[in-house]
């Protein structure tokens, strides 16, 4: 199990239907320890649906799902969390009216005391939250502040810090950098790098090919609910990858017209 | 074919008074071997009640028994029944309008005049200030009870205290009224089980039973016990069971033999005082008195 080559998570021929909509139509994918797998693809390709299925939010319509070498089914996100899969969702999954600390530990509250006096360890929770946010580059004034008062970027950072803190084996990030400024993006990418180096597997979703290239080891490209292919970092150029991400559409004309900087 | 009689009243089936009326009707149905359907809107709602009467007319029963607290509103529906050739007997309220609308006869007494009788009796006892507690303000039949007392209670003052049917609220409001106005010497409930019993409890708790007396409309076992024990003056009895039993029996006889009494039947009010109270308790607990 500790071998570099045993996949942490493997997906085989996954399909997912929503009523009459076929969102995933046979996806296969492998995540290994100490690597960042970038999941790329057009809008509506099914990236979020795939990771929502991995995280136990949806149940797959068919297909196998192997975690740590064993075939598994997650019936709820709790199951996935317990199996060591932590996720930063595209919609963040935070409660705006609740404090940063309470959001941070939501569903995995630290407890103290015995029997009927068992209660949340608020001091510990506050301290951890403050520490972890500090590590990601945000110095929060008050961990009891409501998440709703944070800016979009700060909120994204809370979600990432939370997932990293609880991510025992696999960390999934769904477009974590899309709303972030340049500085925050750099910090998140650096963070992903660190997490990988500490031995976790990371699934990283982005529309920015440069961000993908900066941290990714392998790139799996989805298109219309199917896997278009998986490429090692050395085996593909940034432009080829960009063309694949656009679903095979020819971007050259457009890119040239705009000065080739996209 | 089975003889079917439909009763439409303004009293919900959950109202203590009207549940006794209904019990009377059902027993009469059994005794006279006729089918009785009791219908009433869920709140005091004259519009809904007139629609229920029309629904009854459509089913062409052998007779319709109604209460008539608002002859203006119910008149057209009643006239429709009469036009359809269905005999109608009114009970409880609406005596004045009975003959005008073509109603065969009336059983029971108008709430307003019953209230007057109660007011006169209270004045006769030398009381000065009556607190009339209305647990359902806006129910015109209940409002008339207090209004009647006011009219009959010559020379004294009647204060109406509106409450909900919640026992805690009723107790607290009575206590508040008694502490803030010490001239009150009688607490009058419009319903023995909902208000009368609570009033007895408050007066007992406040320890001023010698100064403040309690009386109530309608009967309930616990309140009658209080009357028997001397903790309350009297209970006003309109004999709801009779108000239900008689019209159904009359209707049954009418449909079978074409007989019907020539005049109205007055069923109340009568007063249940200390001497008589003890005997009525058992019947009251079973929803007969």
């Amino acid at each position: 199990m500790s071998s570099i080559d045993t996949p942490l998570v493997e997906v085989r021929n996954l399909t997912k239907h929503f009523g009459s909509v076929i969102a995933l139509n046979g996806i296969s994918m492998v995540v290994k320890p100490r690597e960042v797998l970038c999941l790329l693809g057009d809008n509506g390709a099914g990236k979020s649906t795939l990771i929502n299925t991995l995280a136990g939010v949806h149940q797959p319509t068919s297909g196998d799902f192997i975690v740590g070498g064993k075939s598994t089914t997650f019936y709820s996100p709790r199951d996935a969390l317990d199996a060591g899969i932590a996720t930063v969702y595209q919609d963040l999954a935070m409660i705006p009216l609740m404090s940063i600390t309470r959001n941070f530990f939501m569903g995995r509250e630290p407890m103290v005391g015995f029997g009927p006096f068992k209660r949340m360890d608020m001091k510990f929770a506050d301290d951890v939250t403050r520490d972890e946010m500090h590590k990601i580059g945000i110095d929060i004034r008050d961990p009891q502040q409501a998440v709703g008062t944070l800016s979009g970027g700060e909120r994204q950072c809370v979600a990432i810090a939370r997932a990293v803190y609880f991510g025992a084996k696999v960390l999934i990030l769904d477009e974590p950098t899309s709303a972030l400024g340049v500085a925050q993006t750099s910090m998140v990418l650096k963070y992903v790098n660190q997490v990988r180096n500490s031995g976790l597997g990371v699934i990283f979703i982005t529309h920015n090919v440069r961000h993908a290239f900066a941290v990714g080891n392998r790139f799996t490209v989805l298109n219309r609910g199917k896997t278009l292919g998986t490429y090692e970092k050395g085996a593909i150029s940034i432009d080829e990858l960009q063309n694949l991400m656009a679903g095979g559409k020819e971007l050259q004309v457009l890119s040239d017209e705009l000065g080739g900087t996209i | 074919q089975e003889v079917s009689i439909i009763a439409v009243t303004h009293g919900q089936a959950s109202d203590p008074f009207w549940s006794i009326v209904k019990n009377g009707m059902m027993q009469a149905g059994k005794d006279s071997n006729v089918k009785v359907d009791y219908r009433a809107p869920e709140t005091f709602d004259m519009v809904a009640m007139s629609q229920l009467i029309e629904a009854a007319v459509n089913q062409n029963p052998a007779g319709i028994v109604i209460s008539n607290p608002d002859p203006d509103a119910l008149g057209p529906a009643i006239e429709k029944a009469v036009a359809a050739g269905i005999p109608v007997i009114s009970m409880n309220s609406g005596i004045a309008a009975a003959s005008k609308l073509g109603i065969k006869l009336h059983v029971g007494q108008e709430e307003l005049s019953a209230g007057k009788t109660v007011g006169e009796r209270l004045a006769g006892l030398g009381l000065k200030h009556v607190l009339c507690i209305n647990q359902e303000v806006g129910n015109a039949a209940l409002d008339q009870r207090c209004q009647g007392v006011t009219e009959g209670f010559a020379g004294g003052k009647v204060t109406v205290l509106p409450t909900s049917a919640d026992p805690a609220e009723i107790e607290a409001k009575i206590q508040a009224a008694l502490t803030s106005d010490t001239s009150i010497d009688l607490v009058l409930g419009l319903s023995a089980p909902l208000v009368g019993e609570r009033a007895v409890a408050v007066v007992e708790k406040m320890g001023n039973g010698d100064k403040v007396k309690v009386a109530s409309y309608d009967l309930s076992a616990s309140f009658l016990q209080a009357v028997a024990d001397g903790k309350a003056l009297f209970a006003v009895d309109q004999q709801p069971y009779l108000q239900g039993y008689l019209p159904v029996t009359f209707m049954a006889l009418n449909s079978r033999y074409g007989t019907i009494p020539a005049g109205n039947v007055a069923s109340g009010p009568s007063f249940v005082t200390q001497e008589a109270a003890a005997q009525v308790i058992e019947k009251s607990a079973q929803g007969i008195r």
Partner: protein, 373 residues
């Protein structure tokens, strides 16, 4: 500008990621679908259990009358609910408008037309007050109009005692209104001539004395139909209708897109108040009297009817036709029990059970048809 190459088109009608796509589905996606299903269910239930006279002409008029009175309120309430607000004061408003209208007729003795005008004016004022408090304070309309539920009911009691000299019933409106040409618009039955002719030709049932059992269509039913159609037209075909959906769907987004949110909400509150006033006028002229309990709990019945009709409690979705159908379902359940031999004691159990079944059935059908989950 045909700057888009054909291969850029993302979704073609034959998208391989769709299992099926039917035209009927689109039609069935309307919010009132569930209400139709509920209506069918309830009708079948009563066809099986009730006295057959329930579905004679007289029987249908009989349950349509309360359905119409509730329905006028429900259509107004559904517009407001689609606009994202509630008005819990409509029941009390019916009583209060009845008092104002009745007092104008019998105390101030003004002509019917003036009395109606006074009632309408009062409705506008109360609609404006409700809406302004909701908009200015930002409090939920649920709680603001709940306060007015108490206040208007209380004012009705006080006003009735004043107008009638101590009683809680005010009478004599029928006599006061008699003779006005408006009377026939607001009370009685329409098409009486037609019905009399039908009866005389034995086409419809008549009483032993020869008059038709149904002397005409009660005017409230016509009002109900007209108002439901009008509301549907407004919702689906006018600019204001678009604004109602927008404001209820997302108030901030609507404002950002240039929708005059304050004006829309104010008009909606006025419309609900006007609907309540119309019901008050109809019932007062019908009954010739008013009392302090009129319209009691009608606000909840109206909301229930709107929900049975497919309105979302969260706003932004629903239809006036749905509320129309929902009211008929509710009216049938309300009156239908009278035609069965079920004991009156079970009435509330029956009402609650039917409500639950109708709403659940509605929900299942909608999900089944739309594939939503």
């Amino acid at each position: 500008m045909s700057i888009v190459a054909d291969d850029k088109i993302k979704k073609t009608p034959a998208d391989e990621r769709l299992k099926k796509a039917s035209v009927a589905t689109t039609l069935l996606r309307r919010p009132e679908l569930g209400a139709v299903a509920g209506l069918v269910l309830v009708t079948v239930f009563f066809l099986l259990t009730a006295n057959p006279s329930m579905f004679t002409l007289a029987g249908i008029m009989n349950f349509m009358a309360p359905a119409a009175q509730l329905g006028i309120l429900a259509v107004g309430a559904s517009l407001l609910m689609i606009g994202g607000e509630y008005d819990l004061s409509i029941g009390s408003m019916v009583a209060f408008a009845g008092l104002v209208f009745g007092a104008a007729l019998v105390v101030w003795q003004v002509p019917l037309s003036v009395a109606i005008l006074i009632a309408i004016l009062m409705a506008v004022v109360i609609g404006v007050v409700n809406s302004q408090i909701v908009i200015k304070t930002g409090l939920p309309s649920f709680i603001v109009t709940l306060a007015f539920l108490f206040i208007l009911r209380g004012l009705t009691l006080v006003g009735l005692k004043w107008a009638s000299g101590g009683a809680t019933q005010l009478r004599g409106m029928k006599e006061a209104a008699a003779g006005s040409p408006l009377t026939s618009i607001f009370s009685g039955d329409a098409f009486q001539g037609l019905f009399a002719w039908l009866a005389s030709n034995d086409l419809i049932a008549k009483f032993p004395n020869g008059t038709p059992q149904v002397s005409g269509i009660p005017v409230e039913i016509l009002w109900f139909i007209v108002i439901a159609l009008l509301a549907t037209w407004v919702l689906l075909r006018t600019r204001f209708g678009n604004w109602i959906f927008a404001v209820g769907g997302d108030e901030r987004a609507a404002r950002k897109s240039g929708v005059p949110v304050v004006r829309v909400k104010t008009v909606l509150f006025i419309i609900t108040a006007l609907c309540a006033t119309l019901v008050a006028v109809l019932t007062v002229l019908d009954a010739g009297s008013t009392d302090a309990r009129r319209g009691f709990q009608k606000e909840f019945e109206a909301i229930i009817a709107a929900v049975i009709g497919g309105c979302l409690l969260t706003g932004g979705y629903g239809s006036a036709i749905g509320a129309f159908l929902g009211s008929i379902v509710f009216g049938m359940v309300l009156i239908g029990l009278t035609y069965t031999s079920i004991d009156q004691d079970w009435y509330l159990v029956f009402l609650g059970g039917m409500l639950l079944v109708a709403v659940m059935f509605n929900n299942v059908i909608r999900k089944r048809v739309t594939g939503e989950r």
